[in-house]
């Protein structure tokens, strides 16, 4: 365990070296959050009848989304891709650490650092500094806030597990690469990053709520808003953890199979 913690710590220190870059990284989510708030205001202005979310809730939902963009499984670990291509995977195999655990710790660091240097400042700006109509609302209750943090931890773990799978499948260059590019696009729709899941048509609600990907973004956002009461949050966290366990298992199996056929590049 100590080994994995060290890998995690080294990664955190390395990522913290670029603080200014972290600040610049706030620009895109702030911009997108603003744009979303503006077009939802326009959409709601012309809406007939009651909607599943109020405008204020939708704006807050979008800000929670933007704050969590940095932890999503948009890609595999870029360095893992590189070592598979340049043959340095041989060194990784020499280490007295389980490879899956090693990569998983790195990926968790890759999520927690953006969470600290990106999400928290972004949420602070969205909560306190923005003008009315664009501002993010506070969590529904202290209990909701606590449940939100728990679901956030679950989201980080699931995202690391999915991201690890993305990295591992690139060993199969051809079929792996297709999935590598396609999967994140699909995740982004199914986790509510494009359109909040509660605003989906009723016919699609069953599907998006059944699939595990909502745990990456939608579940934390709905818990934050109190749409899922804190008492019910536990019921959602359990399947979230089960799915994560399943993704870890799939990742491990894939890695075992990949290592059987891996060819070390270079000479």
């Amino acid at each position: 365990m100590k080994g994995y913690l060290t890998v995690f710590r080294i990664r955190v220190l390395a990522l913290l070296q670029y603080r200014l870059a972290a600040l610049a990284r706030l620009a895109p989510p702030l911009f997108v959050g603003f744009v979303r708030a503006a077009f939802f205001t326009a959409f709601f202005a012309g809406a007939a009848g009651e909607q599943p979310l109020t405008l204020a809730q939708t704006v807050t939902y979008c800000w929670v989304n933007q704050a969590l963009v940095g932890i999503q499984p948009w890609s595999g670990d870029p360095e893992v891709l590189q070592i598979i291509r340049n043959g340095n995977i041989a060194y990784e195999l020499c280490r007295p650490l389980d490879l899956y655990g090693h990569w998983f710790s790195r990926l968790t660091a890759h999520r927690l650092v953006p969470l600290a240097t990106g999400s928290i400042p972004l949420a602070a700006i969205a909560l306190f500094l923005l003008p009315d109509g664009y501002r993010m609302g506070a969590p529904a209750s202290p209990a909701s806030a606590l449940a939100f943090l728990l679901s956030l931890a679950g989201a980080v773990l699931m995202s690391s597990a999915l991201s690890n799978i993305l990295g591992i499948i690139t060993v199969w260059t051809v079929s792996g690469e297709g999935l590598y590019y396609l999967a994140p696009v699909i995740f982004s729709v199914l986790c509510g990053a494009i359109v909040p899941l509660p605003l989906f048509p009723a016919s699609l609600q069953g599907l998006v709520n059944f699939l595990p990907f909502r745990a990456l973004m939608d579940t934390p956002a709905q818990i934050y808003l109190g749409l899922i009461p804190p008492a019910r949050a536990g019921l959602l966290l359990a399947p979230q953890l089960l799915w994560t366990a399943a993704f870890i298992l799939i990742g491990r199996l894939l890695l075992t199979r990949a290592l059987k056929s891996v060819i070390i590049q270079g000479g």
């Binding site: 620009a27 911009f31 959409f43 494009i194």
Partner: protein, 266 residues
């Protein structure tokens, strides 16, 4: 060999390289296409929920999206060399380009040629055609020309943004995320009519970085809608021309940057 022939040769070398990984190219093309389609699904979900966006209907908004998408696809396909340029400053590879007796713009353009982005252009074209038939808007030659000018002008604006941020990389490498705001994130913004944003945002994207000039204004004229931002009626017809103007401006900045370039060397 003139500049065009040289560029042709760059392209041929790049494409030959891509063809070595044919399946990979095809898969990336498909994922670009799928990503673009899923964005449309997002717009569709919002319109089934809300019906209208101001005075804009679903097919009208989709047409906005397709024009912005084609313009961005064109710029990504041909101009990505500038987008990836900061890496060349960081490694010092740009020094080698300066030694060659050819224009730096041509050489940087020649470093990349993202064939898979054709997916975005084709999908945008099909979508635009579909929206136009759905809307039944009479496409007179003048309107068709305006639409084409919007796409080409838009490619110039996005290309200009790439050049602008490549130029900034002579001084700082921290600007990459800001470029992302004006490219990928702005695509999110301009798939909706610009009239819904505040007046300052609108002016900035009309007269400084003229992205609204290649989506909103031409479509106001093509679809015969009323311009909610209060600019004169002739403006939409001239708006796409601001694209090349912006691009030329960024090229001047680029030349200024190259003259003040200090190698990172070793």
């Amino acid at each position: 060999m003139n500049a065009l022939q040289l560029y042709g040769r760059y392209v041929r070398v790049y494409v030959a390289g891509l063809m070595e990984y044919r399946v990979s190219l095809l898969l990336r093309l498909l994922s670009t296409l799928a990503g673009s389609i899923l964005e449309c699904v997002g717009i569709w979900v919002l319109f089934t929920r809300f019906g209208l966006l101001g005075s804009w209907t679903f097919p009208e908004t989709l047409l906005l999206f397709s024009v912005a998408s084609m313009a961005f696809g064109l710029a990504e396909w041909l101009g990505r060399g500038f987008d990836k340029f900061p890496a060349q400053v960081a490694t010092g590879d740009f020094d080698r380009m300066l030694l060659r007796p050819r224009s730096t713009v041509l050489q940087v353009l020649g470093t990349r040629f993202e064939l898979n982005k054709i997916g975005r252009v084709i999908q945008g074209g099909l979508l635009a055609w579909y929206c136009l038939t759905l809307l039944g808007a009479p496409l007179t030659p003048a309107r068709a020309a305006l639409l084409a000018a919007a796409v080409v002008g838009g490619a110039f604006v996005y290309g200009g943004v790439f050049v602008l941020f490549a130029t900034l990389s002579f001084w700082t490498i921290q600007s990459v995320q800001l470029a992302y705001v004006l490219t990928n994130c702005s695509l999110d913004m301009f798939q909706y009519p610009v009239e819904i944003y505040g007046p300052w945002v609108r002016r900035f994207f009309t007269f400084v970085v003229p992205l609204a000039c290649i989506t909103y204004y031409p479509l106001v004229a093509v679809l015969g809608k009323t311009d909610a931002t209060g600019l004169p009626a002739w403006f939409p017809w001239l708006a796409p021309a601001l694209g090349p103007v912006f691009f030329l401006g960024t090229l001047l900045l680029w030349r200024f940057g190259v003259r003040h370039y200090h190698s990172t060397g070793s």
